[in-house]
Symmetry: C3
Subunit: 667 residues, 3 copies
């Protein structure tokens, strides 16, 4: 990357009147140096089957180039044109809810050969058409691609073949998936029923995995097509998104991000989050840590919010804070979705940098200061390198499995992941994410394993070995419970993990009026000791008990244990607790792993993020995620605060205004 | 109208045993002088395709006539017989939820030609059969007609033709509806996709408007059919109903009442409302004001509740109060749905004047006093003429648009309308309703415009002119925002209205912990100053700020403004407030318009309604909508209280019992 | 029955590895003497159409027999194999929600002839194969059989024939079902519409009754098949279940238990219930009283919970208490569902006696003490005979009718039944259940009739006669309201019952801020006098008023009345009250009936159950359903406490530990 990218999505096609020149003028004024175009405009570029019109692309490319603004061109395949659906209704995905219906985007069967034929043609036409344009720095394939629950007869057909490839015989399938249960046994491949109605969680989870594989394959196919045209210095990226709970909440259920990212040069993501008084920076950090971990290097924030929803309109200072928050997690690009505000259709209230009136407004005005800082400070801030000792192990398979077997209260995998992640963030402990299949864990000193419900023997044994050879692991409840086919292990629980954890259990209950009871090494009486959602009745074998349950009948069982195993240590949290309690358990574990440092002197809402820049110098970001001004005691070596351009020394207090940011570059 | 009509719906067909003579005896005893028959009994009158049997109609007409009870005959078309659906399943409306299913009423496609063929035949047969019967005073077409979400292929086909007629070219459609977005562009009429799945709010809203047009056309067609048979002195009416939220809540989304009413001689409505402790009279007043405004004259309450639901059974006195409440809004008829209580099927718990046992009961006994009063006082009370200075401007298009773009918390157009209307009612300010398309506004001195989200330039300019030439307008947030195609205006907000309002805004937020901060001219500290649901960050250009927001970040923006423009004044309320605050804003505006009068000395639960009777004398109704007795200071000229038949003079106190009513006829 | 049966469901087919020998060893250790096999494993026993494999059945039968464990063999018909659905998709039930989908159990059309052909074949093959095996004590047909809402065209076709048989003419149907309403009239059998969409509650209720008849017929057909093979000393049973609200809550809506039970030798049921702090024993008593009443003798608990759900895992002592609770209601068998915990698929978290690790655990260890007690004390406890003076009259028809016409708040028939039953249980008043069609009521002295909404004249007249000849009846609101076709009676309410009840009403309301106001004979001021859900405005004719309503407008009406009629007495409760109030009304009524005895000195959480054993001696169970230890004053004759094997005399205090049980055998 040559420079920090500050961008917007720009759809000339959506403009109510001729705006291009004026838009570019305003973009320049705001320091916008990249735009993202074309990804949802198939019906404009191919108004009729085989009739192509790239006028709007050409004119935008030319005008941007002339203005010195770079362009990322997207393939327009995630929203199909009307004529395609009229001519070939079968391109719409059939799901468990029935046949598809035209209207929204992301409604097609990404395995349908007719769709793929047209998609290939428009990609080749568009990319072939623009490939020599000097404005283009890279391409994006499709957008927020998922499998859209495609599950029609053709997908079922592919799935049966996949099952035969993977398991060879039905005896193996019947055994591994426990299909005798409720007479679900399949004794002939012809009998294989549609999995749409299955009640077998193992089969359902395998189908979800197969569906994620369809996404990986589809994206790799698009990336390969684009690579036939792109120049070596141009990148191909994908805009990955996260589990959506009204904002970017957690691990994406429908895509294996690590697998899918393999086809791309650089990871791209979109990150949306609550704002105003609810702004914490957590989603930016969470999404950024995922994105950075996907390819082990910097990433692009292809979409994030400018004004967006009425409850997200940023307070003064927040837009600026957000931009630097992304950089602090390793982003090399921050782009808004999108430039203006759409005047009708569907996302009219998802406002861009400009309001519907296209006039300067307080948010746009704030963007100008960001663009200026990006330009001025970019050389120090770009390509931030982060080396973390802590990793969180995540798993799409565990996520899916816990969708089949929900925690009480409807809680699911991402609730556990975020319960952990949020407190780690608040402690200012930086972390990476690793997929459960990762072979080499030795880069890390502490691995946190939330609810690894479904996992192979290899994964669990690797974790045991990691501890034995000196690593620290913190497991939560549910980890190790089932194998990779979501079949509960027939051994003592927590399965293979019980070795390193030094505990066993066979009974678990839903807590009702249960608290934690501490131990000499852990005071559980303060900080909301209520246990909720889930508790396993753990008996230590070799582990030390950190906390017991406080309950007339379950009081003899352990809630939190810690076990020395080989040269390392394994902590096991057998229940869900308050944020405060898991915060303190994390603190305890981080301290035991010898990772408690200067940055841990501060805590949320004062957030510290750091890394090494291209010049090999430490860059430290300090954020105040609150409405109250605060100060920070700077405790590192002599440095310069970049935003105020002033020297900083160890022991100095730095003032942080509400929703403020400071960037300190060590000398 | 010759006399006040006091009526019931009567279904001889539903009777479990021979009751006619006894029913008529009991009706006469209660003063019932009109019955409404036949509207849901097609399967009885045409038991088989082409076999007709009007026995039950004939015998009721004869018996009623003999007893001196008049009859309104309904066309039976809103519930289709079993044989029709078996022979022609396609008469059932196909909706977004799928094909229709026999069982309920109002399930047919009102554009289906087979249905229309049979409907025409039964109408001609029935009306032709009874047309000379002297008992009949008028006809009702169908009942509570709506479009039933009909959206099958045939309706889609008509819609495409309608679009072509209306917009001529697809380029125009694509541009005005913003169909480039998400690749929704239509480039050939053949490609026009079913709108059932559309995500384009403009297209969806146009379809809703088209569907309302189907209702207008269907009703006009029926009215024309009936007119071929009816005598000059007989009327044709329609029973319009309102947005249903368990009771008659607001503007009807599925029918353009003003357009549809054009085909009829007199407007009819049904009005249902909470009762017991929750009785306020608001729905009676609201529905009555709409009904009266439809044709600018008196109307019929074709249905209202007698006992109805277990939570509506009226307290002693309430049934009587309700009857006069209808008259006080301009009704010339009050009819119960229905006479007896149905013994099974579906509406068994929607009880009539009689319970299932057909015996006199407390409600029936109270009806007797009403019938007597109607008879005795009718000459004074009939044809009440009301001349209001205040109007509320309403719009089906704004309503639909706000269904597509809901306010936070799921609030919609009618929530804003009722937020305004309820407080106007409580201030005893009488008003009319005008549709947004109305050209002449000069009958009024104050026009209140709630959330006129989608409106044409002409409408908005007309409002500006109204102010300029001396009128007062009160706008709420969202007004003027989008054009008539639900496309947000590209100009500064509130669009064209900003001229008369003297304000601009481009950012709006969902309030969280925001209050109003008053001005010298408006004390906002009392009366629950919390702002909720929506707030626009308004900057005045020429307007005076009546109230600001109280918030650390939005405190510089205006919440309520007032602007002198030409000879008039425009008030703009940029946020949703408590009932108390909007009540005071309305009071302020009514005072400014010079409309604050004697009736405003009283306020809810003491309600005043008035008008001029046929003899040109003022009639004033006073209602006590509470469980507590109260008194009223009479401040008009010498008069006579009709219910107690006693003289009343200015300065005299009139006692009102709980749920009581007084009717004062000025000398 | 030779001995108390202590059992588990056992599915060799579901085992993840070879366990049979070890399982049997562990079963023997726990005193398990019976297993239930085969009922959901069709796809294992008939892996392909016409290919049979009973290996798993044979080996379990042989091994169990060798170990002295008896076996109940189930027909495997409630879950169809994959091949059947692939070959004959039409075997799946089509319901109001659409066509069936493969996956779950209980998804077939039990009237489909293809399904019946295969079901007959597998039954004949399986039972024919095992019929001579000495391990077998009995057979179970199918499992938890219901009609699964089957309502496809073929079922509709049968229903029309059923209607013609039952009512002869459509005139009769139209009249009795009130089909004129909303034009639902059917004038030709060909026109008969699918009832799936009907809004006519009478027609809908008749269809539900017809569907229940399908279940009765299907089960009788299966029982007959099994009888062709079974030996005289073997039984045929069915596992009936209850309305499921996350546990066994109330009367089963989809099966007429009394009718269906006629085909069986002994009734079987499954009973599941909340546990831990929420354990009350009510569901065990309720389900047991139903089961015992079905055939007027002892019954089998074919399924109940061991560990089950995380919120049900029993506290120490609870599993033991539960086992004896079943015996105390008349069970001769207590069996857990199921032995182990299933490792995947669907019911993974419905845990058995063993956890997934198959190791001994606290619950299994507790089972060992139960097995021992059953063995040692069985001769005293088996075949407990109960002779009750109190009965509750129940009705599937009333239940269905109240589904069509729900009480406010969505409350339904079973809410009323349980409101009554729970308090009767807490008063330690033992009762039977009688179906509303029962001719002879003279076995009882008090009959309680909750919400008998739909009932024939005969039933109501029989209740009047019962009172007249000296019986006591307690009715609740809604009783007598409609006839057997769910048509509200046209007479004064409560219909025919008004004679014995000595009251009338025609108006009913939903109470809002209404309390009871007592009378000299009933102090309603204490004990939460709030009235909720429903209240009828009752006027006594000859009845004494026990309590009035306390309300400004309804205060003159009676809420609870009592009437002497002939030699008996009828109490009428016209509203829903707090638990405490109905408890006291029940006490009052039980006292009046002369049934207040020694057992009523104790009350919940101290529960007493008793009966006469085979030797003619009284057996009394005392349970402490609480976390607190308590004592009981023993007031019967000299006896022996069996669990502690110690003598007990009148006046002696017996200690009961938390969740404890005592069994006293009178000398």
């Amino acid at each position: 990357m040559q420079k920090l990218l500050y961008g917007v999505a720009y759809y000339d096609e959506y403009m109510p009147y001729e705006r291009l020149e004026e838009d570019i003028r305003m973009m320049k004024e705001a320091g916008i140096n990249v735009v993202r175009i074309a990804e949802s405009t198939w019906s404009t570029h191919e108004p009729q089957n085989g009739v192509f019109d790239f006028t709007s692309v050409d004119r935008v490319l030319d005008a941007m180039h002339q203005a010195g603004i770079q362009v990322i061109v997207g393939t327009p395949t995630y929203a199909v044109p009307t004529w395609m659906v009229k001519e070939h209704p079968e391109v719409l995905a059939e799901t468990a809810k029935g046949p598809g219906r035209y209207g929204a985007r992301q409604i097609m069967d990404i395995t349908n050969k007719t769709y793929l034929f047209y998609a290939e043609r428009i990609i080749r036409k568009l990319i072939g058409h623009v490939k020599d344009h000097p404005a283009i720095i890279g391409y994006q394939t499709d957008n927020e691609t998922k499998h859209y629950d495609t599950a029609g007869a053709n997908v079922q057909f592919q799935f049966v073949k996949y099952m035969r490839d993977r398991f060879q015989t039905l005896d193996e399938v019947n055994r591994k998936f426990g299909l005798d249960y409720w007479s679900n046994r399949i004794n002939s491949w012809e009998d294989f029923p549609s999995v749409v109605g299955t009640i077998n969680g193992s089969l359902g989870a395998e189908f979800a995995k197969f569906q994620r594989g369809l996404v990986t394959r589809f994206l790799a196919w698009q990336a390969d097509l684009v690579r036939e045209y792109k120049k070596p210095e141009q990148f191909v990226t994908q805009n990955f998104d996260f589990e959506w709970r009204g904002y970017s909440y957690g691990i994406q259920p429908s895509v294996d991000h690590f697998r899918a990212a393999e086809a791309f040069d650089i990871a791209g993501v979109d990150i949306y989050h609550p704002s105003q008084d609810k702004l914490t920076g957590i989603e930016i950090s969470f999404g950024g840590d995922i994105a950075r971990s996907l390819k082990g290097r910097n990433y692009l924030v292809l979409e994030t919010q400018a004004q967006a929803f009425p409850d997200w309109t940023p307070y003064p200072g927040q837009l600026r804070q957000l931009a630097f928050s992304h950089l602090a997690s390793g982003a090399n690009m921050v782009a808004y979705w999108h430039w203006h505000s759409i005047h009708n259709s569907f996302e009219t209230y998802w406002k861009g940098l400009l309001s519907h009136d296209f006039l300067p407004n307080p948010i746009y005005n704030e963007a100008k200061t960001i663009g200026k800082s990006f330009e001025e400070l970019g050389e120090h801030l770009i390509d931030l390198h982060k080396r973390n000792d802590v990793a969180i192990m995540i798993s799409n398979e565990a996520l899916t499995a816990m969708e089949w077997f929900k925690l009480p209260g409807g809680k699911s995998y991402n609730d556990v992941v975020r319960w952990i992640y949020d407190e780690l963030y608040k402690l200012n402990v930086a972390c990476d994410f690793v997929p459960d299949g990762r072979e080499n864990l030795n880069d890390y000193r502490l691995i946190i394993v939330p609810a690894l419900y479904a996992a192979s023997d290899e994964t669990l044994e690797r974790l045991n070995e990691f501890v034995q050879s000196g690593g620290h692991v913190l497991y939560t409840f549910k980890s190790g419970f089932a194998d990779e086919h979501v079949k509960v292990r027939t051994t003592v629980q927590p399965g293979i993990l019980h070795e390193a954890a030094g505990i066993t259990y066979s009974v678990f209950v839903e807590p009702s009026n249960v608290q934690l009871r501490g131990s000499p090494s852990f005071d559980a009486s303060a900080d909301d000791p209520q246990v909720h959602t889930w508790m396993e009745l753990v008996s230590p074998t070799t582990a030390e008990v950190v906390a017991y349950y406080n309950h007339p009948h379950w009081g003899q069982y352990a809630a939190i244990t810690s076990n020395t195993y080989g040269k390392g240590k394994a902590t096991y949290v057998a229940c869900m607790t308050s944020a405060k309690i898991i915060n303190r358990v994390l603190e305890r574990t981080v301290r035991e792993a010898g990772l408690w440092g200067i940055d841990q002197q501060a805590a949320f809402p004062l957030i510290v993020k750091s890394g090494i820049n291209k010049q090999g110098r430490s860059v430290r970001y300090y954020f105040n995620y609150s409405n109250e001004p605060t100060t920070l005691l700077y405790s590192h070596g002599p440095a310069r605060e970049l935003l105020h351009d002033e020297p900083v020394d160890a022991g100095q207090e730095l003032a942080l205004e509400p929703w403020g940011v400071r960037i300190v570059l060590e000398a």
